[in-house]
Symmetry: C2
Subunit: 358 residues, 2 copies
């Protein structure tokens, strides 16, 4: 049952006014807002219809109308105009996007913070999701007789290192290190976390001849790395922005949501489920959320490509009264930025130019 054009126009007017003011909107307001040349009475009739069909709700009999989740849904699907970011806004985002450190998780954390600041809502960012990761190779760098740096590279090209100091000084030599490296690589490269069994490690230790546990030191570091990579990390930012919005003037409500948001695991769970299908952005309105705690909030998600076919998710949480168009636009702009960042692996950052004349 399609809505008439006029009904749509009215619904849209209601939503846009409500999003701006957070006040229930009445027939008169609609009349003015969407310059309609019908009387308020007519609009009242239409509003009554829309309410009956479930697109609007009435907090109480003598109040104006408020969009229902169903109303927002229709709005998002059909009525909403794609929001173009202003030049000023893109400039602002681009500028913030010049992230310093290349470390993957820091970049993603930063992106989350940025989105939160940009939208005035809490935001979160999830790093690319689980997959079996394997070790590609080991390298050991001798520092001095009693310490060396272990470098582990995984098959998704993440490189981590750790400085390993030996409990007792035992005067490692370069050839020894060399040998150890070869052994490590031949025994453990290509292996997943599960495959790094204590048995395997013992065998390798044995083969290494020296039983000082060097092998296991390095391998358990590698295990930490793999473990860390396979767990997708969640970063949240700007939860305090919740308090900016009138729907969270109630401290109890705000607190419940905030503490939910700070539980990373739960967030991660509720985000892996609606997994965005193939869409690059998705809007979940109120009860469309799986998690009970989010039943009266909306979530806007955008996915970004980390190379290697993996995707991460970045998103915003807020009241259902949200400027979906704007939020979605900003979010996907940032997500695209991230994709590009990871896509073009190495743009030479260039030497920071000192001011030079001529």
């Amino acid at each position: 049952m399609e809505l008439t054009e006029r009904k749509k126009k009215i619904l849209r007017a209601v939503i846009e006014s409500y999003v701006r003011t957070a006040e229930p909107v009445g027939s008169k307001t609609v009349q003015e807002q969407a310059d309609m040349n019908v009387s308020s009475a007519t609009i009242r009739n239409e509003l009554a219809d829309l309410t009956e069909q479930g697109y609007l709700e009435q907090p109480h009999t003598s109040a104006g109308r408020v969009p229902s989740p169903k109303g927002y849904r229709l709005y998002v699907n059909e009525l909403m105009e794609e929001q173009r970011l202003s030049l000023e806004e893109t400039r602002q985002i681009n500028q913030a996007m010049h992230l310093k450190m290349q470390e993957l998780d820091k970049v993603i954390d930063q992106a989350g913070r940025m989105v939160s600041q940009l939208t005035n809502y809490p935001a979160f960012a999830v790093t690319g999701n689980a997959r079996r990761i394997t070790i590609r190779r080991f390298d050991l760098i001798l520092v001095d007789g009693s310490s060396f740096i272990a470098v582990v590279m995984t098959d998704n090209s993440v490189v981590k290192n750790k400085l390993i100091r030996l409990p007792l000084p035992l005067d490692l030599s370069q050839p020894q290190i060399q040998l150890l490296t070869t052994l490590l690589n031949s025994s453990f490269s290509g292996k997943t976390l599960d495959e790094l069994t204590p048995q395997l490690m013992r065998v390798a230790e044995h083969a290494a001849g020296n039983a000082y546990g060097l092998i296991s030191l390095v391998v358990s570091f590698a295990m930490e790395v793999l473990e860390d990579l396979e767990h997708s990390a969640v970063y949240t930012a700007g939860t305090s922005h919740l308090l900016d919005h009138p729907e969270y003037q109630d401290v109890g409500k705000a607190q419940r949501l905030m503490s939910y948001l700070s539980q990373e695991e739960s967030l991660a769970r509720s985000l892996s489920l609606p997994a965005l299908g193939d869409d690059s952005t998705k809007i979940l309105i109120g009860p469309e959320n799986v998690a009970d705690e989010l039943k009266d909030t909306s979530v806007v998600l955008a996915s970004y490509d980390i190379g290697d076919g993996l995707k991460g998710v970045i998103g915003v949480v807020g009241p259902t009264r949200m400027d979906y168009a704007k939020v979605a636009a900003k979010l996907s702009y940032v997500a695209d930025g991230l994709s590009k960042l990871f896509g073009q692996p190495e743009l030479p950052p260039g030497i920071p130019e000192e001011k030079e004349d001529s």
Copy 2:
């Protein structure tokens, strides 16, 4: 002008009751709480004295008394008993203290979160403060013809790495990498951030013969690393805990403080000032804080040693009504834990034992 024993006892009773209940405490309550065998009238007289001397305040004429910052100060300095953590508590902390990843900033971040959870207040952690850091050495690991891993080690034994992919494939060979490494080390090791001038880089590039910018790629990575290390990072956690406490039922108040806490720079600034003198822990009560935004909150700080003579700070923010004894105890326990963690550089984590029978 010293207070009489009785006055002290009363002050202490007032504070401890107020900390528990958040309600102004009256003469009767004091009488019961600190089993004093004087009448409430006597206590009223004493309370009046204490109020006049500024240790207590009266929200309004017909309410009980509330400790003033000066009152808390006296309490903290003289009256407060060192709180011993219960076995249960230390067990809990110790358990949480088994941090996986050794990455310095992650550990510190984690510690902050832990403290917040432990105390039910927002917490923050600051990494060891600025100092001129120099590069100790470079290592390059050849991955394939068009990419290599750059490893930078600084003089405070931090090791960072980055996978560098060349913009154009140019078939690097091991000897070339070797050469490059030597060149990097001879030109740049021992240098601080400031000394890594473009001039120096150009010279090195020139010396390298190949102008493909490899040198500058690696060096600018090193610069990022140095920059990152010299800026002390601030981590905050658990800001939403503010809402747990009745003094922040007022959303406006909560919001102001929360957004202050999420501005890392300001936090860092207000924390470097009161720099803890030599004490390992410090309590700042209400107006003793420098920052206006903290004038009616208290901050408990503890410092921890990152090796190398450097110190970091970890702390808790909350209303002046705070269980200082407990918070300080927990905080310094964690801070000590951190110090130990950094102090004994490498306790071999051991192979994760699989359940083995006998």
